[in-house]
Symmetry: C2
Subunit: 427 residues, 2 copies
């Protein structure tokens, strides 16, 4: 993290705590509130750089992006599909244009007025049309905690867990962008010892602190992606809140896994941070013992030191409070292993597919990634500054996830993903 080079700066003002310095340059899809079509942009400080405007004016004239028209589309899928050389070329072009010492954009007031939008003046939407969404279960601490609570300590970690990255298919249609309010789900639950199930609003609505990555280049049906080639297929990462109704999950999940307990909504942050931007935070991952089968081995390090927080704000509180602090580096199974495993039987991934990590819990009770774990199934309620307590989320609560890599004098951040719980709707 210590660099002897002077820190690269943009002519656009970027405050020291900003998530979006010139070192980051995350991609997203925005629509100006004054009107216009959804298109691609890059976050820089408190501004959004309009890539569609730059594209139309011929700034993306390198060999990968020339005449591609990928940035005027309402989703990043076409750009994602171009592959790593195109992503790198775009990043280099954008970084060059935003440098403090480059007059091209800086001194062109008319172009600046067309191509730079204040963040407050735009609405963000999903970065991609998500064809399929997969959720892994890659935190050993989380799997162990949940296993103890649902199945007892002796069956906590299933026999397969240390041999393969367990995952299930999630619901793509209900992945929503940050800010979307979530109605409390209703469904079937079965109380311990009750004679029959009950239909009612969930009484144990939870969040899950996760990260996810978007697939860039896909693969053909029947042609697995080797772990050693993962970098060419991972476009970038977002924060993921996998909202979960624990009481519904407990009743429905055997034998085929979670379904309604998860598919009512999954929220993601709008800015996709690229592997390129995250390179300074690459660290060794946890030791893996037993050694995974050969198809799950890669030579490179695939963990990232990304600090993660979840914040809760009840309606009685004037500001949110941090309820847990975790780190992406805790994950046992990494993204390269997830990609290799997902495709090993031949499953095809497509540009824009989302692969989430599963809840990222750390080793200590203040680093757990869900209320289920933080309150140990409601046995140890959280104390809020307002004097309230929480076992699970109440109506009106707002849950926010944030995260960043801390560089020397800058942060590569993910912004946030937030959502407020609304009361159950009348059925």
């Amino acid at each position: 993290m210590i660099s002897s080079e002077p820190l690269l700066r943009s002519f656009v003002e970027v405050r020291p705590e900003s998530h979006f310095p010139i070192q980051n340059l995350p991609f997203g899809i925005f629509t100006p509130k004054v009107g216009g079509r959804a298109r691609a942009g890059v976050a820089i400080g408190e501004m959004v750089l309009d890539l569609a405007v730059l594209e139309a004016q011929g700034f993306f004239d390198g060999p990968q992006l020339r005449s591609q028209h990928v940035f005027s589309q309402p989703a990043l899928n076409a750009f994602m599909a171009l592959g790593r050389p195109a992503w790198q070329e775009a990043r280099a072009t954008i970084q060059q244009l935003l440098r403090a010492d480059n007059p091209t954009l800086r001194d062109n007031a008319e172009l600046c007025s067309q191509a730079l939008w204040p963040t407050a003046g735009v609405t963000m939407s999903l970065p991609a049309d998500i064809g399929d969404y997969t959720d892994f279960y890659s935190s050993r601490e989380h799997a162990t905690n949940v296993g103890i609570m649902f199945r007892g300590r002796e069956n906590a970690l299933m026999p397969n867990w240390l041999h393969l990255p367990v995952a299930y298919h999630g619901r793509a249609s209900s992945v929503v962008t940050s800010g979307t309010a979530i109605h409390r789900p209703q469904g079937q639950t079965m109380a311990e010892g009750a004679p029959a199930p009950l239909f009612a609003p969930s009484r144990s609505l939870d969040f899950e602190l996760e990260m996810g990555f978007f697939v860039g280049l896909g693969n053909q049906l029947g042609a697995p992606i080797p772990a050693t080639e993962a970098a060419g297929h991972i476009f970038g990462l977002v924060l993921v809140n996998d909202w979960s109704a624990r009481d519904i999950q407990r009743w429905e999940y055997q034998p085929l896994g979670p379904f309604l307990a998860k598919n009512f909504a999954t929220s993601i942050s709008p800015w996709v941070v690229t592997l390129e931007a995250l390179a300074p935070f690459r660290v060794p991952g946890p030791a893996q013992e037993p050694e995974p089968l050969p198809y799950l081995r890669s030579r490179e390090e695939w963990a990232y030191d990304i600090h993660l927080e979840a914040l809760l704000q009840s309606e009685a509180m004037s500001e949110p409070v941090v309820i847990t602090r975790s780190n992406f580096r805790h994950l046992y199974w990494n993204m390269a292993q997830q990609l290799a495993h997902h495709t090993i039987t031949g499953c095809n991934l497509r540009p824009g597919d989302l692969l989430a990590s599963g809840t990222i819990s750390g080793p200590t009770p203040d680093s757990y990634g869900s209320l289920l774990e933080l309150t140990w199934r409601g046995e140890r309620p959280i104390q809020l500054p307002s004097g309230e307590t929480r076992k699970f989320l109440q109506d009106g609560d707002r849950l926010t996830l944030t995260g960043w890599g801390q560089g020397d004098g800058y942060r590569i951040g993910f912004g946030e993903v937030t959502g407020q719980i609304l009361p159950a709707r009348a059925v």
Copy 2:
């Protein structure tokens, strides 16, 4: 099934055993082998009626379809999204044009040459862009059989099974159309008592005899579809073969359900048979005890008498042999209940989503819908006419599903979904 009206006939020749008489009129997406773009068609006897040509010439001039241009698109999603009145209007228009006593198309040789393609001269593709694919587990006989084999007789049917239609999210990207060859998947398996898992081609590759329906009208996130309104949301049905690698499934499936054991491929038949066409085959479903919760109740009958068969042909055989006969009416949970359950926590469905039934096993051992059940986990191999035996599928085997409703003098059929097993690829 007994009708006193004379049977409606088409001027297009339809043999008595054909699946596609004028009473059926299933929708699909085809491309002429001589070239041209993929577009919508309807099967009639051994011909395909080109709806894009009819649309361009103004034949769909009713209030629902006028100036919609849904049939020139390479997927039926836009047509599905129009809703039941539009589907009925299209069916009425097409049935009218194909009647033996209507000269409009019959006597217009030029239009016939443009709008009628021999089935042998076209290639079929997926009927829709499938946003999400869900697989239910709605056959009580299948769930009981598998439960006995995987968990023992005392835990066969989980406590939740009689209270809700169990389901999991499947993989949309690997849903393929009939005729697609399937490479034997490779992956991790764990032999009974072995010290560590093995990586190898699956040794227990299986089929699952299923049907599935395409969602027409969808619903907004947070707004469940009542069981009583299901008919407005179900566009039509296809045959589904949910290829399954039992050894991979057994090792991976706990606690989050099947993943790689299923996501390498799911095959569907290309023609979507509408609820309208299936109306004559509506029958009462199985009694449900205990009575389901109110949100799972509907006043109408929702079972359909559709005869189903699976056929197997090894490379040594000159023709396929029927290995099981089942019926769609055996399903315990029906489509209206599946729709209501899927959306009850608020999950949104979109036009073109596919909801499959799960394996449809009948009550007798010759009506089971998978090799796992037919051979009882390989303990009772199937005898083939070639003298070969089968516990599970071997390389070179072709597995075909077919099905139809038998009317008085006509069949409403689904054609077939077929696929051949190719050897595992080198990794």
